[in-house]
């Protein structure tokens, strides 16, 4: 069986690195692409969807292959931690109609970043709900745009009605160190979450 994990142990053979992924979500134009680009070598990743059921005529004949697809450019970043460990970042465009992409991306994700803009906090509600429902650990990072008013993180936490355990921090998505700190927060949070609720194995 080609797809099984190695029979002997829990980890792939040493020649094959462990791969982990972190998702970068948030509303339209909140700085997702900027953040991924600040901290990793970013490349566009094209994904394509056969036009969805909803957009096909209701009477289309089931089983007929739809011939046209639309491509969506996702953000795709790779951070090689070392030979045995690679961290991947995935972001999607912020418009609501791209949510279908998340279902696939979310499976097996280590954690997520929800970027927020204090001028449009409500645009991050959907992402927060999504990761909460799926039990994916996430950090809320407030991207500090130059012309946005600064609020203390506790104010943001209250406005977003976040559980006290969820990290909230301010960031500048353009700055490598700042973007890096956001990712570190996600991994730390994922680690603590795992420690609190050990997965049944």
């Amino acid at each position: 069986m080609v797809f099984g994990r190695s029979k002997r142990g829990d980890r792939p053979a040493p020649a094959e690195p462990v791969t982990l992924k972190i998702l970068v979500a948030g509303g339209f134009g909140v700085g997702k692409t900027t953040l991924v680009g600040a901290v990793s070598e970013i490349r566009p990743l094209r994904t394509e969807e056969v036009l969805t059921e909803a957009s096909r005529p209701v009477d289309s004949i089931a089983g007929v292959e739809a011939k046209s697809t639309t491509t969506v450019a996702m953000d795709f970043g790779r951070i090689t931690i070392n030979d045995g460990l690679v961290l991947y970042l995935f972001g999607t465009p912020g418009q609501d109609r791209f949510w279908f992409l998340w279902d696939e991306l979310a499976t097996g994700a280590l954690g997520a970043v929800v970027l927020a803009d204090t001028r449009r906090l409500e645009n991050s509600f959907a992402a927060i709900d999504y990761f909460e429902r799926r039990g994916i650990p996430f950090t809320v990072a407030v991207n500090c745009f130059d012309d946005a008013e600064r609020y203390p993180v506790e104010t943001v936490r209250e406005a977003l009605d976040l559980d006290g355990g969820i990290p909230v921090l301010l960031c500048d998505a353009r700055q490598r160190e700042s973007a890096r700190d956001v990712l570190i927060s996600v991994v730390e949070h994922a680690m603590h979450t795992a420690a609190r609720a050990p997965a049944d194995r």
């Binding site: 994904t47 460990l85 991947y88 791209f98």
Partner: protein, 145 residues
């Protein structure tokens, strides 16, 4: 009505499936392929590429010919094998590297698995990581960035 799909974020409607002969879903395996699953080239039992040979990792010409003579493979299949012979790459890496849509790459990789030219490893779900040490390694690696 598909006009709303044309914008900066979503490219034009395209037909990228010529090389997969119209298939948009690969066999049971291909459909399951996680974006961070690693594609590992099977050892073809051939000699290592000679040092200094063009495009390190490429297949030796005689092997390419042999594989293409079998008409089930297209050049993109060989590109994938060549890439993954250098080092195992994730499905997403392969797609980005070859600038092919993810769905196309999944189909092609599914073919290569069937042809036993590559195998794919399932990524370890975070919940199944043996202990914290890997996450500590990630944190330390990020701090060093």
């Amino acid at each position: 009505m598909t006009d709303h799909w044309f914008d900066d974020a979503a490219g034009p409607v395209v037909r990228p499936y010529a090389m997969t002969r119209g298939r948009t879903r690969s066999g049971a395996e291909g459909a399951q392929l996680d974006l961070i699953a690693l594609v590992v080239a099977e050892d073809l039992g051939a000699a290592e590429p000679e040092p200094g040979s063009a495009a390190g990792g490429g297949l030796p010409p005689h092997q390419e010919d042999k594989l293409l003579a079998d008409h089930s493979l297209v050049p993109e299949h060989l590109d994938i094998v060549a890439l993954c012979r250098r080092s195992p790459l994730s499905v997403a890496d392969v797609a980005a590297e070859l600038d092919l849509p993810v769905g196309v790459v999944r189909v092609l990789i599914g073919d290569l698995v069937e042809a036993e030219l590559v195998r794919v490893t399932r990524p370890v779900p975070p919940a199944e990581l043996p202990d914290e040490s890997i996450l500590r390694e990630v944190i330390n690696g990020l701090r060093a960035l």
